[in-house]
C-alpha cells in the first residue's frame, strides 16, 4: 500500500476511533459506576448532531453552537437521570435494557417530530474548511485533524478528572462500593446525576463534532450504539483506559477492513471482538 494512502487510512481510523471513544467512555462510566446498561446512549450522539444542526442554523457560529449544545446536553442528561434512570439502579439489568429500549423509540419519534426525517448537513466551521496537501493528488481535511485533537484533549481532561480530583476519587470509590461512599456523607444521588450527565454530554459532544463530516440523519445513533458497546466490552467494563485502546483498535480495524477485505468488511469488528473475548472474557482492562 502506498505510504501516503496508508497514512490517510491511519488518520481516518484514529479519528473514527477517537469519536467512538468519546461515546464509549460515557457508556463505560455509566455502566461501571452506576451499573446501568443504557441502550439509548446512541440516541444522545444523534441528539448532539441534531442540536449542532439547529444551533448553527440559529446563529451561524459553530463554536458557540458547540458550547450551547454541551449545556443543553448536560441539562437533558440531568433531567433524564432524575426522571427515569434513578429508579433503575437496583433493578436487574434486563429491565434496564427494556426501559432504555423504550427510550430509544421515544427519542427517535421526538427527533422525527422536531426535525423531520430528512438528512441535514452542517458546514465545516469557517477557518478550518481547507485541506493539507500530502501529494499531488491527495490531501487531508484539516477539520478531521481538529476532531482528533479535540477528542484527545477530552481524553486527557477525563484522565485528570478521574485520577487527580476529589470528584474523580468519589467516582472511583462509588464504582467499587456504593454504600461505603454513602456512609461517608457523600450525596450519591447527586454524584450519579453528575456522572450520567457527563456521559450524555460526552456522547452528544461526539455527535456535534462529527456532524460536519458524517452529516445528520435518522438512525445515526444505531451504528454508534452497537460499536460503543463493542468498545466497552473489549476494553473492559468501567475502564476508560480500556475504552480508549479498544476504540482505537476498532477504528483502525474497521477502516483498514474496508480497504483490505471489503467482502467481509462488516464482519471485521465483530470477529475482533469475538477473538478478544474468547482470549480474555473480561475485556482487556476489565476486572476478572
Amino acid at each position: 500500500m502506498d505510504p501516503v494512502i496508508f497514512l490517510i487510512q491511519v488518520l481516518n481510523g484514529v479519528q473514527y476511533g477517537l469519536l467512538l471513544f468519546l461515546v464509549a467512555s460515557g457508556l463505560t462510566l455509566i455502566f461501571g459506576i452506576m451499573g446501568i446498561i443504557n441502550l439509548a446512549h446512541g440516541s444522545f450522539y444523534m441528539i448532539g448532531a441534531y442540536l449542532a444542526f439547529s444551533l448553527v442554523r440559529l446563529q451561524g457560529n459553530f463554536w458557540i453552537a458547540l458550547a450551547l449544545g454541551i449545556v443543553v446536553a448536560v441539562a437533558i442528561g440531568a433531567a433524564l437521570e432524575w426522571l427515569v434512570m434513578r429508579f433503575l439502579y437496583q433493578r436487574d439489568h434486563l429491565y434496564q435494557v427494556l426501559l432504555t429500549y423504550g427510550l430509544i423509540l421515544i427519542f427517535e419519534e421526538l427527533r422525527s417530530l422536531l426535525w423531520g426525517d430528512d438528512v441535514h448537513g452542517v458546514a465545516v466551521p469557517a477557518g478550518l474548511d481547507f485541506s493539507i496537501p500530502l501529494t499531488e493528488t491527495l490531501s487531508y481535511q484539516v477539520y478531521r485533524l481538529v476532531i482528533s485533537l479535540a477528542c484527545l484533549s477530552i481524553a486527557a481532561g477525563m484522565y485528570w478528572l478521574i485520577q487527580r480530583t476529589r470528584l474523580g476519587m468519589m467516582i472511583r470509590a462509588g464504582s467499587v462500593d456504593r454504600e461505603m461512599v454513602q456512609s461517608l456523607g457523600i450525596d450519591i444521588g447527586l454524584l450519579y446525576r453528575l456522572v450520567f450527565a457527563l456521559g450524555v454530554a460526552l456522547a452528544a459532544f461526539a455527535g456535534m463534532l462529527a456532524a460536519p463530516v458524517s452529516s445528520v440523519f435518522p438512525g445515526m445513533g444505531n451504528q454508534v450504539l452497537i460499536l460503543s458497546f463493542v468498545v466497552v466490552v473489549i476494553g473492559g467494563i468501567g475502564s476508560v483506559k480500556g475504552a480508549l485502546v479498544a476504540a482505537l483498535a476498532i477504528g483502525l480495524a474497521d477502516t483498514f477492513g474496508k480497504v483490505l477485505v471489503p467482502q467481509i468488511a462488516g464482519m471485521v469488528v465483530y470477529l475482533l471482538m469475538a477473538a478478544i473475548l474468547l482470549w480474555r472474557p473480561q475485556g482487556i482492562f476489565g476486572r476478572a
Binding site: 439489568h93 427494556l98 467494563i237 464482519m267 469475538a274
Partner: protein
C-alpha cells in the same frame, strides 16, 4: 413441581379454544395477523428457555431464526413447494448446528459479556448474509411456493390457504409450548433452573454445567429455527433483517415485557407488543412514541412483566 395454579390452567385452555375458534369468525387480515403473533410467540418461548429459565441473556437469538429461514429459501424450488417434513427438519437442523458452534464459543463468557458476544455473532451472521450476492444481498430472496405436505399422494392441508396455515402454526406453537413444559419438568430442566439460581453450587454438586448450558442453547436454537421456518413460509420473503440485532432486541423485549420464566409470559409479550403496535399505528403516525412510553411506564410500574398482573407465582 410445575403444577400451575388452577386459574392459569383454565385461562390457557380457554385461550387455546379461542384461538382454535377464531378463524371461523375472523377476517383474513386478522387471521394472518394472529398467525404472525403465534410465530413470534414460538420464537419468544424459545428465547425464554434461555433467558427466563437458564439465565442466559442472548441478544443474538435472531441468528438461528434467520438462518433457518434462509435454509428454507435455499431448499425451496422456484416453481413448487419444498417437502414440509424434511425442509422443516433441515431448517431446525441448520439452526441447531449454528447454535452448537456459537454456543461452544459464547458460553465461555457470562453476564454482560455473554450478552455482547451473542450480539457480535448475530451481527456477523447479519453482515455475512447482507453482503452475500448469492443469498440475495440486502434485498433478500423470495419463496414463491409454500412448503407442501404430501403423504403417499394425499395432502392433509394446503399451506397456501391462510386458514390452514393458521392451524398449522397453532399446532406448532402448542408443540413448542408442550415441549418446553416437558423439558422443564425433566431432570435436565431442573438442572438448568438450578444453574440459573446458583451455578457455582451446581458445579460443586458434580454437574458439568457447561454441557447443560450448551444443550439448552442448542435446543433453544432449534426451536427458534422452527419459528424461522414458519416466518419464512408465511412471509414468502427472507432478508437480512431477520438476523439483525433489532430482531433480537425486539424479541428480548417481548420476553421481558411478558414476564420471564413464566409459561405464557412470552406469548403474552409477543401478543402485547404486536397488538400495541397495531393499536398505536391506528392512532398516529408517531406511534413509536406511545409504544416507547408504554414500555417505560410498565418497567417503572410493573416490576416483573405482564404475567405478574395475573399473579402467577413461579414455583421452584
Amino acid at each position: 413441581m410445575d403444577r400451575q395454579p388452577r386459574s392459569l390452567q383454565v385461562l390457557l385452555i380457554a385461550g387455546v379454544i379461542a384461538l382454535a375458534a377464531f378463524p371461523l369468525v375472523g377476517e383474513k387480515f386478522y387471521i394472518q395477523f394472529i398467525t404472525k403473533i403465534m410465530i413470534l410467540a414460538m420464537f419468544a418461548m424459545s428465547l425464554d428457555l434461555l433467558v427466563g429459565y437458564t439465565g442466559l441473556v442472548s441478544l443474538g437469538h435472531a441468528l438461528p431464526f434467520g438462518l433457518a429461514a434462509y435454509a428454507l429459501m435455499f431448499v425451496s424450488p422456484e416453481a413448487e413447494g419444498a417437502g414440509l417434513g424434511w425442509s422443516l427438519a433441515a431448517a431446525a437442523g441448520v439452526a441447531a448446528l449454528a447454535s452448537l458452534v456459537v454456543g461452544l464459543l459464547v458460553l465461555r463468557t457470562s453476564g454482560i459479556y455473554f450478552i455482547m458476544v451473542t450480539l457480535a455473532f448475530g451481527q456477523m451472521a447479519y453482515y455475512y448474509v447482507h453482503d452475500s450476492k448469492y443469498l440475495g444481498g440486502s434485498d433478500g430472496k423470495y419463496i414463491y411456493v409454500r412448503p407442501v405436505l404430501e403423504i403417499f399422494g394425499w395432502k392433509p392441508f394446503d399451506l397456501e390457504n391462510h386458514t390452514h396455515f393458521y392451524y398449522v402454526a397453532l399446532a406448532l406453537m402448542a408443540f413448542v409450548y408442550l415441549t418446553i413444559r416437558v423439558l422443564l419438568a425433566s431432570p435436565f430442566g431442573r438442572v438448568i433452573a438450578a444453574i440459573k439460581e446458583n451455578e457455582h453450587r451446581m458445579r460443586m454438586l458434580g454437574f458439568a454445567t457447561f454441557r447443560y448450558k450448551l444443550v439448552c442453547f442448542v435446543l433453544a436454537g432449534a426451536l427458534a429455527g422452527l419459528a424461522g421456518w414458519l416466518a419464512a413460509a408465511h412471509d414468502g420473503l427472507v432478508n437480512p433483517e431477520m438476523l439483525s440485532w433489532h430482531q433480537s432486541g425486539q424479541l428480548l423485549m417481548m420476553v421481558i415485557l411478558g414476564g420471564m420464566g413464566t409459561p405464557a409470559g412470552p406469548v403474552l409479550g409477543a401478543a402485547a407488543l404486536k397488538l400495541l403496535e397495531l393499536g398505536f399505528q391506528g392512532w398516529t403516525k408517531h406511534w413509536q412514541l406511545l409504544l416507547g412510553g408504554f414500555i417505560v411506564l410498565s418497567v417503572l410500574l410493573i416490576p416483573r412483566g405482564l404475567a405478574q398482573l395475573f399473579e402467577w407465582k413461579r414455583r421452584g
